[in-house]
Symmetry: C2
């Protein structure tokens, strides 16, 4: 299983205007990550889950998880994905800490922190991007692997320390500053190649 965790520190957690995603704490960026994580041109990526951790106003944190194996009635442009996020936020209203509900086929929302989620995934190979990390092309990946990304605000130093303490490994994928949505595409491509050859 390939899993992605996107920590979106500004993304709104109650409601937002579907016609103005950038001003909803950059929900547009979140949507692009989801789209690139779970869609192929002719299918869904059935071996992939992406968890987006929304930490903006007014009821943080909320985690929405999209499972490529179970998604239905799901279209890949930003606005349609944002519509599903909004639907999930409505379903998740009033959730207590640790609770989770299904909001749409293949989409669950939970009241949980980034740190809790990472700890839950600590039995998988945890990976995050760092300029001093090992080149992704040289890195060996396990079958169950979780990639952790920050949004446009990056991964704070404190979070890096937390990840290091939980056994996360660092990789690098480019000499350029890429968006998380770009990194997801490159990670998928690398794993597609590695697991084709292995």
């Amino acid at each position: 299983m390939r899993e992605f965790i996107l920590r979106a520190q500004k993304a709104y957690t109650t409601e937002f205007n579907l016609d103005d995603l950038p001003n909803a704490g950059r929900i547009d960026l979140v949507c692009r990550c989801i789209s690139n994580a779970v869609f192929l041109s002719n299918d869904l990526r059935r071996d992939t889950i992406i968890h987006v951790v929304l930490e903006g106003p007014k009821d943080p944190p909320k985690i929405i998880s999209f499972n490529g194996n179970d998604l239905k009635d799901f279209y890949f442009d930003e606005k349609n994905i944002a519509r599903i996020i909004l639907k999930a936020l409505k379903k998740g209203k009033g959730l207590k800490s640790g609770e989770e509900v299904e909001a749409h086929p293949g989409v669950k929302i939970s009241k949980k922190s980034f740190e809790q989620l990472v700890k839950e995934k600590s039995q998988t190979q945890l990976i995050y991007l760092h300029e001093k990390g090992i080149d992704i092309r040289e890195k060996e990946f396990k079958e169950n692997v979780t990639f952790i990304f920050g949004d446009y605000t990056g991964i704070p130093k404190k979070t890096e320390n937390f990840l290091d303490n939980n056994g996360a490994e660092k990789i690098s994928i480019s000499n350029k500053m890429l968006f998380a949505s770009h990194c997801i595409v490159i990670v998928h491509n690398e794993l597609d190649r590695k697991f084709l050859l292995s």
Copy 2:
């Protein structure tokens, strides 16, 4: 210079509803390609131009070119890019064959066919994706290179023949069926690596 040509056979060429991009002949897909072609997380890709060839109703063909070096007031989510496309289509109304106008800083629109554009770029290294192409990682690229992509309808056989007759070379980048917008990310990453090392 890196150039991309996206042939969008259904994309609308006069006007469309900014709040429903998929039903404008998949303008959402066109926007994602533009975003991935010209944006880094912290800058524009100043060595990159993407030409989108719109061939849908009601006044095909129209070519809109986005030059990363000259773009201003340009935001990277789908709706804001679509807004610039719409602005360009309005400025390009009534253009005669071969004519071109600037529609926005870094954005030009012309009345020109896909074939004409490819012929203009034939002094660069022309590349298109094909499952039997050479693996992108094994391929050598020239400094001036133009990558040609189809949209979700793919590249028709007739177009493949036209490209072959104009000296285009074939590459492959994945064993999976990816979106053109994904391919652009992977092409950039490969060239970033190759030209860093050379």
